[in-house]
Amino acid sequence: MATALLRTVIIYAAVIAAMRLMGKRQLGELQPAELVTALLVSNVASISIEEPDLPLLASLTAIFLIAALEILNSTLAYYCPGYARALFGRPVTVVRGGKVDQQALRHLRISGADLAEALRGKDIFCPADTAWAVIETNGSLSAAPANGGAPPMLPLLIDGCPCAESLRALGLDDAWLEGYLRAKGLRQKQVLMLLYDGQNSFLAAKENRPGKTGAADKNGEGPK
């Protein structure tokens, strides 16, 4: 009994240390890979507590190995946008200008009831009142109501990768994007994010070195 109690305390401390090591990203976002990590860590911890026959070192090694792999995996995803897309997927627009994209819903296997429920969670009771709704890569819905105010800003370029869907939605193309960046003296790889709503834009360039402020530019006029 004493061994079981001691093992529980050690595993509890180890799981807290592992989750702390993985950081807030692990606690907040729960992307597919992070969900798998959380599930695995919790399973290993519970098995270790329930099965006193298992050596403690095996459980602790598994927990910390999963934590280390998760950190290195998220770092790889940070540096390789292509890998990040493969790992996390892309956000998918499901409502645009009050019109439901049924093809996207079919692709995501989200029913009309699911969409209506998610929109109600955002205090929007009719898709027609939605300017833009996106299913994020973590499965949550982000929505902007069509209240006659400013339209939502769409990402045109994130982590150096163009968002073709947003470009199409705004009636723009890659040539326009290239021209805009050329005017700003930047290349795609140098851009952290470029948002645009048809009138206003927000541009943040990647920092050259940690500690230096990146170039951010909020343009009230919007690129022409």
């Binding site: 090591l21 950081g23 006193p52 026959d53 298992l54 050596p55 403690l56 070192l57 095996a58 090694t61 910390f64 190995l65 934590a67 280390a68 950190i71 290195l72 770092t75």
Partner: protein, 122 residues
């Protein structure tokens, strides 16, 4: 990216810990095997008092290392080995030579099982 350094340090630490634990399990298994075989050799030479002393010393070693071994290999394997080793001094008697041979072989097999279980991929 401090966290990456932590992750790599953690992986290195885990590798060192695993390597060290593997060496400890291997060395302990080798020590127990040698002690048991030495004690059995004394019994074969009909030095049963010496064999009993040697087996009891092995029991003490197995008990002393048991706590650490349970951290690295399955508790059931260590318990089974300790039970087998604990019976050996009682078989070191002229009337029990056959039983002593069987139990010594059993203890050697259990030591082997414990040692291989650490790096067992199956």
């Amino acid at each position: 990216m401090k966290r990456n350094a932590y992750a790599i340090a953690l992986l290195v630490l885990l590798a060192l810990l695993l390597g060290g634990s593997g060496l400890y399990v291997h060395a302990t298994a080798e020590e127990l095997r040698q002690d048991i075989n030495n004690a059995y050799a004394l019994a074969l030479r009909a030095d049963y008092a010496g064999a009993q002393r040697a087996y009891r010393a092995t029991v003490a070693v197995a008990e002393a290392r048991g706590g650490a071994l349970r951290l690295f290999v399955r508790r059931a394997l260590v318990d089974k080995l300790q039970e087998t080793i604990a019976t050996l001094p009682h078989y070191a008697h002229p009337d029990n030579r056959a039983d002593l041979a069987v139990e010594t072989a059993r203890a050697n097999a259990q030591i082997e099982e414990m040692a291989t279980s650490f790096w067992d991929w199956a």
